[in-house]
Symmetry: C2
Subunit: 206 residues, 2 copies
Amino acid sequence: MPKQTFFNLPDDKRQTLILAAEKEFSRVPLFEASISNIVKTAGIPRGSFYQYFEDKEDAYLFLLNQQAKARQGNFIALLSKNDGNLFDAITEMYRLILLEIPTQENLEFLKNAFLNMTHKIENIFTKIFSVNESSEKLREISSMINKENLNISDEDDLTHVIQIIMSVTFHNLVEKFAKELTYEQAMSNFKIEMNLLKNGLCKQGI
Amino acid sequence: MPKQTFFNLPDDKRQTLILAAEKEFSRVPLFEASISNIVKTAGIPRGSFYQYFEDKEDAYLFLLNQQAKARQGNFIALLSKNDGNLFDAITEMYRLILLEIPTQENLEFLKNAFLNMTHKIENIFTKIFSVNESSEKLREISSMINKENLNISDEDDLTHVIQIIMSVTFHNLVEKFAKELTYEQAMSNFKIEMNLLKNGLCKQGI
DNA sequence: CTCTGAAGTGACATGATGTCATTTCCCTAT
DNA sequence: ATAGGGAAATGACATCATGTCACTTCAGAG
């Protein structure tokens, strides 16, 4: 959280600072962004930055939260518009994000927010499991998968199935470590989600 | 990729360096790790490090790839053992990772690999959508979701359903930006995966 | 008009990165 | 055995970023 000083700032000065930060975080991923650049762009002394924010990430998180708030009402509105249908609402949300981010230069940092996590590491998870599309291994693995029971119509679907399972597995790992879950909790969550995946998130015939 | 020089190194020296790097990356997340610490621990001059690696990330990726290779055979073996059943294999893989990481101190960096991505940012995606468990908003959103058609037995399942959808959505966003997919490609992939989620990844009755 | 606490300021100590001129090592050819 | 040459090793250095702090300025209350 930015310090109170930041919120006490006159609107225009605060806005200048926000724009400068957005610009810097849009230029490069978080870890490369430099406070020096932000203060230079904003035309404020270095010390002032630390008067307002704890550090670089503090500013970054503030920007993300700003965006979050902007989208909060958005998603709720979408749910409402789609009669509570989670899939329709999230699909529309996804569409809006895809459409919005490329058009606003200062939102580039949101795109970086997603890429940051992978950065040059590309997809760590993919690396750890050695499953990436250009790899021989993926083909080997794909060929070994028993497709009889999978609900897929072609090879392309299989790739998507793998992607889905990997996303969910990855998410579970992050949760496990971030929340310091016990082994039992982590396994239990994982199994629940795998079962949901197998059986489908919607009742049949819908 | 590390430079050839690194692979030309005598085994013991290379191993010392690997251990030093693992130690440093296990100590702190990637962006805080310092090359100075690695060379100090390994007892090699600073310049040598750059003789072997491009930079910090190069070393980091090398370590991850090493782990990847160690697990590659692993996963294939698991698939084979489980008659190609993807769910069983991945569940066993997951279990093994959970069991293995906490016991080996020098594998702590793998744990960091997952946490890195989220770092202090926790779950950026969660922030952007303002859906986190402690938030009022999640309750509000949950209450608005039409649960009639969802294949869930209780409120707890609903949380898992949301987690799954978020993981997959997040993954799609990362893919979109990392691979610079067009809007159409990104939407198409997303819809395919959402449909798979709705209908289930396995044929009924399995 | 003065006093006081909050905010602003920028020089500075510290420490990290990547480079490069120089030295050392080791293999090969004579 | 030794001279030559290319690869590898070395560590001092230029550069740059961070966070701090002593000092200054400001603005509002009395």
